[in-house]
Amino acid sequence: VSTTPTPNPWVVASSDEYGARAAVTIPYRPEPPAHPADLVFEGPCPRCDHGFVYRWPLEVVRGVSTITVTVSCQCKYAHPGRPETVDGCGAFWNVVVRAP
């Protein structure tokens, strides 16, 4: 009998809980630091706990102090039911970050 826990199936889903957990566990950094073109989020997925890296393309918007970013899990773990063309477990959420 295998003791390996069954991985979460791939499900496209979002919740306030995912967003709240991500806001305290997934830090972000601007890249490149001098003239940012992307925000890079790196940390554990709030749903499956697998580590992932997510690169968000920045747009130039003047006069805003915060940006709302939609992040989706990009882990490489083979969640059952996941299409071959995508990564992650299907979880996605919004976070509000300070404009770089």
């Binding site: 806001a23 890249e31 976070v95 509000v96």
Partner: protein, 204 residues
């Protein structure tokens, strides 16, 4: 590294917009390169027509113009050629990029390449317009600049036992030559009496 200010649930439309933004970023370099390739073809054709026509026709024009107009036009043509070459190189660089070696994949390199290509493409367009503007000014100047007067035909003629040297006048009576000598005397000589004729550059 910073932590987000807050987090919450996202909608399906948020997810769709994010996926579209990621796809746009992925495709932007290819899109800019493709646009630059089309611009490159158009600019090259336009410049070839203008520079080709100018190169083949302006040479004689420059020779015929008074100084300093001929010199100014020659310099203008060379400047326009230089700008046209710079425009072509910028368009080529925008459509094909420059060869580059990287030891490791650089994050965001494709986006930087897309920004560089877009800048090169804008530069190519402006340089092409500048080259066309210079050609236009050069052409207009060549149309209206004063031309050098035709040099008179000077000849040394032996006729009636005399040697005459001077400017020949075509508007003369048939069968005769009208010669204005350097002493400003006008001589009419019958063609039948001419024993020798030699065109000269100047008369004594």
């Amino acid at each position: 590294m910073s932590l987000p200010v807050s987090g919450g649930q996202a909608s399906q439309s948020d997810l769709a917009a994010a996926q579209q933004a990621l796809a746009d970023r992925t495709d932007e370099l290819a899109l800019v390169r493709a646009a630059a390739g089309k611009w490159q073809g158009g600019l090259a054709g336009l410049l070839a027509i203008v520079t080709g026509v100018s190169a083949f026709t302006l040479g004689d024009t420059i020779q015929a113009l008074q100084r300093p107009f001929g010199l100014v036009i020659a310099i203008g043509v060379m400047a326009a050629f230089a700008v046209a070459v710079a425009a072509t190189i910028a368009a080529l660089r925008a459509s094909g990029g420059l060869p580059r070696l990287r030891s490791t994949p650089a994050a965001g390199a494709a986006h930087q390449d897309a920004l560089t290509a877009a800048t090169d493409l804008r530069r190519a367009i402006w340089l092409s317009l500048l080259a066309l503007l210079i050609f236009g000014v050069v052409a207009a100047t060549s149309w209206f600049a004063p031309r050098t007067a035709d040099s008179p035909t000077l000849a040394r003629i032996e006729a009636n036992g005399r040697s005459l040297c001077g400017e020949l006048d075509a508007k003369t009576v048939p069968g005769t030559l009208l010669i204005t000598t350097s002493a400003k005397s006008v001589e009419i000589v019958g063609l039948a009496s001419v024993r020798s004729w030699k065109n000269v550059k100047q008369c004594p």
